[in-house]
Amino acid sequence: MKKSTLTVVATAAITAVAIIIVFVLLLPIIGPRFIMPLVMGNIAAPADLDTATTRPTDSGLYRVSFTSALDPIAINQIHSWTLHVETADGQPVDNAEISVNGGMPQHGHGLPTKPQVTQNLGNGDYLVEGLKFQMTGWWEVRFDISAEGQSDSITFNLVLQ
């Protein structure tokens, strides 16, 4: 073997060993920051989650938005939302029947309370009372909306800290 080849091989070997040792030494720092989030994929919400507060319903019948009386939404506090429902072309929907559901898709449990639409505020606005979230993470809140013989649904995503 030529001497120069030997030098290249030795350099490569030493560099590789050095990199491995440095990586192992740095693991306690790299681990929690970069590796654990990968391993614990079920804890973090999906990165591409749509958390918009104004969205079209699943079949596109309505456009729905919500505003929370508790802003930002914090855990363990019961509060109310105002839900606004309008048709796809922007006309307020005033006579809707709305039911509320939800939960944490990654934990397989529902909402800790039974929120309800308690008031039709007019102009397409509805008061939703009794909302509460008792954990941080990804929550879904689903509204089933029926008006004039038609119905559609919308699921809002929340990621609470």
Binding site: A10, I14, L25, P32, I75, L111, K114, Q134, T136
Partner: protein, 412 residues
């Protein structure tokens, strides 16, 4: 071999440098998410004491002073030996260290700690009461706790606390002509005597009884957790005081905290500055030896809805719109079966035995249960999933839990 020598020198220097950096003691690094999670647990993040709209006397210092006397007065029991303080012992953090509470008899559940319960919408393991004052009245009429009844207590207020009572609640109705023992209790004689009273007399006595609860709650509101070593650490983290952080926590305790807010998922239920979400969860805890399966919230939910002292009752001072927790609670359903309220973890190491009937003697047993997540005996719903933590990690979590000890602040 000249190049090789340079490379070796550089590699060795690099390794020494990195080794020195990692092995040199320094505060652990927390991500932005972890820092937010730690801040959420910090006592400095506890909001001011929330008002109890159902108790208009809740913040009256005279009510708290009377309530404190009633809390420790053993005359308010069937045998003259039991007060609230019998099970809620101040020196033990307002609990008793027993698997099952001992009043005039033995209950089927463990005494809960009091500190910070002013923040909870639900009281008792099964949430069968929705305020501290309504809670305080439960044990008074329980045949195994205080074992007394309403007219008996009204007579005692009349005889020993009349002036203090009237200064807070107004004129005391005449109770001297009423039976000594009467109330809607298990004791048949007292129950019969109660039913023989006029509706007005029953209403007057029940009003006195509710006011007793409101006075006791005015005192209990002031029983709060004080800062622990964890709070010193959290505050130092918020303020970027690396030296204070390092002095406050060992590397194992910090590792335990990281597991607590991360992989071990403890903060799903034990969240916020009180380390509880005050909600209800089924963690598949086995029934206590000698006791039947406890259905928990399945019992508690209908009881709080029917409770004569709940937020919507005539004895509550709250307006209807101030009772959102009760109005929008989940009242029925399969998921309520076997659910219990997670207690605060502050001072947890001083509060063995654990779970709703003291089923586990040590934190090691508790952590082993959460780590393996055994199936519930009858196969019903259970929120746990195995955590696959190592023995070392479990030790780290326990090391962290021990940093949650601090004073319990209460009126002198």
């Amino acid at each position: 071999m000249k190049i090789s020598r340079t490379v070796i020198t550089l590699a060795v220097l690099l390794i020494i440098g990195v080794a020195a950096y990692t092995l040199w003691p320094h505060a652990p690094q927390w991500t932005a998410d972890e820092t937010a999670a730690i801040r959420a647990l910090w006592l400095g993040n506890l909001p001011p004491l929330p008002p109890d709209p159902s108790n208009q006397y809740g913040d009256d210092p005279r009510a708290a002073a009377l309530g404190q006397k009633l809390f420790f007065d053993t005359r308010f029991s069937a045998n003259g030996q039991v007060s609230c303080g019998t099970c809620h012992i101040p020196e033990l953090g307002f609990q008793d260290g027993l698997p099952l509470a001992q009043g005039v008899g033995t209950t089927t559940r463990r005494t809960m700690p009091i500190a910070g319960t002013a923040y909870s919408p639900w009281l008792f393991w099964d949430g069968r009461k929705d305020s501290q004052w309504a809670q305080a009245l439960g044990p008074m009429e329980s045949p195994v706790e205080h074992g007394g009844n309403r007219t008996y207590y009204a007579h005692l207020i009349d005889e020993y606390y009349r002036a203090e009572y009237e200064a807070i609640f107004g004129p005391m109705p005449d109770v001297s002509r009423l039976p000594r023992n009467a109330g809607p209790v298990a004791d048949l004689e007292a129950k019969t005597a109660w039913e023989a009273m006029t509706a007005e007399d029953r209403e007057n006595v029940t009003r006195i009884y509710a006011n007793m609860g409101k006075a006791i709650a005015a005192y209990e509101r002031l029983i709060l957790p004080g800062p622990s070593r964890f709070d010193t650490y959290a505050q130092a983290l918020m303020e970027g005081e690396a030296a204070t952080m390092q002095a406050a926590f060992t590397p194992d305790e910090a590792a335990g905290l990281r597991l607590f807010i991360g992989e071990a998922q403890c903060v799903k239920c034990h969240n916020g500055p009180l380390f509880t979400n005050n909600d209800f969860h089924n963690t598949g805890v086995p029934a206590a030896a000698g006791l039947p399966e406890d259905t928990g919230r399945t019992q508690g939910a209908p009881q709080v809805l029917a409770d004569e002292f709940n937020c919507l009752s005539p004895y509550s001072d709250a307006a209807e719109n101030e009772c959102a927790e009760l109005k929008f609670m989940v009242a029925e359903g399969h998921e309520l079966l076997g659910q219990f309220k997670p207690p605060s973890l502050r001072n947890v190491i001083a509060r063995a035995p654990y779970m709703h009937a003291g089923q586990f003697t040590t934190l090691e047993e508790v952590l082993a249960h959460y780590n393996t997540a055994p199936a519930t005996p009858d196969g019903h719903h259970n929120e746990l999933q195995p955590l696959h933590l190592s023995e070392a990690e479990i030790k780290q979590i326990i090391a962290f839990l021990k940093t949650l000890s601090g004073p319990v602040v209460a009126p002198p």
